[in-house]
Symmetry: C3
């Protein structure tokens, strides 16, 4: 059986679920088929392209490997025909976005570590990868991005990327560290929304 390498698997899965979140947001805004596709592509590919350009790994993987684009088109098609099913889920955009956040935080941090960046820089690049696609998606529909409005968003990405960096430093199994990073980052994000965790405001603001 042919198995995708871990980095590619994380990347394609993150691309697909972020593209789902973009397409779902487009449906909620009553955009048409093209708007759905554009928002799916933007949300799915932008974070990874930022990461690759910042690493000097040009052209970005999303341009060189057709499967990235196909993943976003598949997501647009799934939502175009199946959004009513999705709607029955509780807050589908948020849940998909949380999963994509975890996947890209981990994939961005891993790729940066493999490119030789030191752990702190790799964690920052993981956060940038995770936050980039969703921020573009929200700005395109003229919304203030979640990363600014929501309490535990960049923090969840930080935790996911941090687990990968710790695993790399201490020699954990690559796949286990990646899996733990994805699951814990996504869970942290979802629980924070569900429980309504709040961060402190500046005193007197």
């Amino acid at each position: 059986m042919d198995v995708l390498p871990l980095g590619l698997w994380l990347d394609l899965a993150g691309t697909f679920v972020f593209a789902l979140s973009g397409a779902m947001l487009a449906v909620q805004r009553r955009l048409d088929l093209f708007g759905i596709t554009v928002l799916a592509v933007s949300a799915g590919l932008f974070g990874g392209m930022l990461r690759d350009v910042a690493l000097g790994a040009t052209p970005p993987a999303a341009l060189e490997d057709t499967r990235y684009l196909l993943a976003t088109f598949a997501a647009a098609a799934v939502i175009f025909f199946g959004h009513r099913l999705m709607d029955r889920l509780l807050r589908p955009v948020m849940v998909l976005d949380a999963l994509g956040l975890g996947l890209f935080a981990v994939s961005g941090c891993r790729k940066a570590l493999l490119a030789g960046l030191d752990p702190l820089a790799a964690i920052i690049l993981g956060i940038l990868t995770a936050v980039g696609g969703g921020a573009l998606r929200d700005m395109l529909v003229a919304e203030v991005p979640h990363v600014l409005r929501d309490e535990v968003y960049a923090l969840a990405a930080l935790v996911g990327a941090g687990i990968v960096a710790a695993g790399y430093a201490w020699g954990w199994s690559d796949a286990w560290a990646a899996g733990a990073g994805v699951v814990i980052a996504a869970a942290l994000r979802i629980v924070s929304v569900w429980r309504g965790w709040r961060a402190p405001r500046a005193p007197g603001s």
Copy 2:
């Protein structure tokens, strides 16, 4: 007679007409001379800079070759003094934007093919080049970009870039393929606005 190479000609023409569209939008928003210049420069240069950075062709042509900047300044001056003439045209921002869309879709796809990307990646980069400057222009004035709102926008860029990629694969004359790509992409966009073509919405949305 000294003739510009085709790639540079396409790029400068696209830069000029996109800069015109940015300057015209700035006048409609009642921005002053500086706002007009900034929006002309942003709309004219951003798409090509995205393209060059994604190809790893740094510093971008728009920084290395003074003529790009001069083209955007010329466009800002033309609009500053001549916008009332432009206003008599039917929907000048839309028409200029459509022309720039075709020019940049073709120039982005050509440059990517010449850099050795495969056809599908080159088409995507063409779309990104074509859509980038206009999206930044619209986001800077806090508008939802055309590429999301309008039916046939990214699709027109796709057709223009696709013609170039097909011509490259099948050995058509470079200049003819480029010309056909520009004209057909721009015409497709203009006709779609004029006839009010609509794409389907997601069923039940």
Copy 3:
């Protein structure tokens, strides 16, 4: 005594004051601790990352050198605890933004000159560096960026970068040219706001 090299000093100072401006804006928008941090990081790091990516100097300094990130965190902490003190200043976001504008215009232009770009291209890159972080900061909170709304903004960055380029061409002392560029650009911006300088609108608009 160990002294920072001039380029790094300019960069870190620009990062710190732009991060202060971002954090201050976040407090005014009543964002919480995380929103403050994200806006501080975005405003502080984005312009320099644009510059480095456009120069092909990847990974960007802001990722490789931990002190950049620490500078933005320090700024977020300063504002979180001290924003009421800041508020007593006259228009703190504007003043900090003006100082950051001067620092980044100078640092962007210097780095581009040292990388071998010709003076005009270096000036443009200086403007892009100076304007990038503030534009992202404003767009993230769904505001039209100052660079579009305000009369003397890109122009102040142009003057600061131009002084550096002139000093480089005519062999002035590096530190003096840089200092003059920062002070004059920031002063020009502040005086223009204070005196309410207006640029002309397009005739008949």
